[in-house]
Amino acid sequence: MGLLSLLRKFRKQPSRELRILILGLDNAGKTTVLRVLASEQDEIKNTTPTQGFNVKSVHSQGFKLNIWDIGGQRTIRPYWKHYFEGTDVLIFVVDSADMMRMDETGEELSELLQEHKLAGVPLLVFANKQDLDLAMPPDEPAGYASPDLQHNLLIFPQIAEKFQLTSLTDRRWQIQPCSALRGEGIQEGMDWMAKNVSTSKW
């Protein structure tokens, strides 16, 4: 994808600086998403679990794009809050193939959504690792979604319900299935971001 092409996508924004924050549990695939955004696909197979954070920046003609990827281990999640300030888009990455941690994922996301400093910030949920065999199937009807929601939530009703996104009224949000490993679905997520970031803060 490349940071420069990303930057071009966002250049229409009134702001001269854009800050994207990538959060999610450990092993969700945040750094792999960052690598795809930065056109570092060759390096995906060398990725090490993030101990602090990774940041990728690009400057061009007075416009600046910063993407922050913060480590997601339980012990270091309390530090996430230090990165909230000035965030334009929140990307929350979910390991769709780790069913046992959906509750933990949901809890972390709902806490984030109550953060004052992230109020109104558009939320892009990457339902990552769709390439894995045990990934939550996107097209399976929700076992526990209410019937009236199923109409609109054909894909990922489980995730939307679990994370209580359907009741969100204070921000734009989107769940995008993806496989960062294969570079699939990321582009669509970025397109959504480009369309939705401008109306949020300015």
Binding site: D133, N152, F156
Partner: protein, 341 residues
């Protein structure tokens, strides 16, 4: 069918998505038989997956007790959750291995990433391409991956791993309280596991015998013998791996293998790291190489005589105590720096 779940504002002006939406690879593939990919709630049994049965699929092991689990195939992702007193032998995983809430287990595994959380009293014989991490765990013990079966070397390649690219000892502890109560290096150099003698698995050639392992036994830089002579051996050419293995077989027990890597330097990367070591640099510039840090009394002389018969243009060996010292330091720094992101 809609493209994605999203907030409502945009829905009315959205184009009919069925036509514009890309078709993803995961939508085209056939759903696997999930029951083959999950082992759950077993007690006191031997469970096997043989070479070719998984071929890089995801695998999940959960809530087992006193089981012996042999997964002699490649996987793309492995989760081991809530297992107690189990023995797990797991073939190369091209993605991440996540061990959670396990107690009293012995795990032999090779992987791209290794993560452990909320584990107690487990011993891990590890091959890991990146830095292994642990969190909220106690009394874990780590040692170098040691195992062989007939298909294992090929499986390393299928999983995009190399037996010599092993960073098993660089453990990062997210909940470091100081002291050794969280983790330590295991004294054992081979897993105390007896391969099953019955069933199809008995034909796989599985052994934990010392010296047979597909991954050479390295002690890691933290256990590098202090005060002893060091050296770096670089092996290039088509036969680099077999020659490196031959050398290590000859050296066994005379010197200590500290760490190894398999690298293919591109651009000016080699110059940037090894520019100060002319002879070593010249060797690694010839193509993909295996690099080994060795340590021990008279290590250079022992290596030199063990390399007899190997063409001189396919290897480099540190010459002199000072050069050996400098080269091993540079190699150690290079390997540390490869763990950054």
């Amino acid at each position: 069918m809609g493209c994605c779940v999203s907030s409502g504002e945009e829905r009315t002006d959205r184009e009919p998505l069925a036509e514009t939406r890309p078709r993803y690879s995961w939508e085209k593939k056939e759903r696997p038989d999930r029951s083959q990919l999950i082992i759950s709630g077993q007690v006191g049994v031997v469970v096997c997956r043989l070479p070719g049965q998984l071929s890089g699929r995801q695998f999940h092991i959960q809530d087992c007790r006193q089981c012996e689990i042999f997964v002699l195939d490649t996987t793309s992702s492995l989760t081991i959750h809530g297992c107690t007193d189990c023995t797990l032998v797991l073939g190369p995983c091209g993605g991440s291995v996540f061990v959670r809430q396990c107690e009293g287990c012995t795990v032999v595994v090779a992987c791209q990433q290794f993560r452990a959380r909320d584990c107690r009293k487990c011993t891990v014989y590890l091959h890991c391409k990146s830095q292994p991490v642990i969190e909220s765990s106690h009394r874990l013990r780590f040692s170098c991956f040691q195992a062989y079966y007939d298909k294992l070397r090929d499986q390393f390649s299928s999983a995009d791993l190399h037996p010599f690219n092993n960073q098993w000892s660089h453990i990062h502890n997210f909940t470091n309280q100081g002291g050794e109560s969280d983790w330590s290096f295991a004294q054992e150099t081979t897993p105390p596991i007896t391969p099953p003698s019955e069933g199809d698995i008995s034909g796989c050639g599985l052994t934990f015998q010392r010296g047979r392992s597909t991954v050479p036994y390295s002690v890691g830089p933290l256990a590098r013998p202090t005060e002893s002579e060091g050296c770096v051996v670089v092996m290039t050419g088509e036969e680099r791996e077999s020659r490196a293995r031959e050398l290590l077989t000859k050296l066994q027990d005379q010197v200590v293998l500290v760490q190894t890597c398999h690298s293919h330097f591109k651009g000016n990367e080699a110059q940037a790291f090894f520019g100060d070591h002319k002879s070593l640099l010249a060797q690694i510039k010839t193509g993909p190489c295996i690099m080994m840090e060795l340590s021990g009394e008279n290590v250079q002389q022992i290596c030199h005589s063990s390399l007899e018969g190997v063409p001189e243009d396919v290897y480099h060996l540190s010459s002199g105590r000072e050069e050996g010292e400098r080269e091993r330091e540079t190699l150690a720094n290079y390997l540390m720096s490869s763990l950054t992101m």
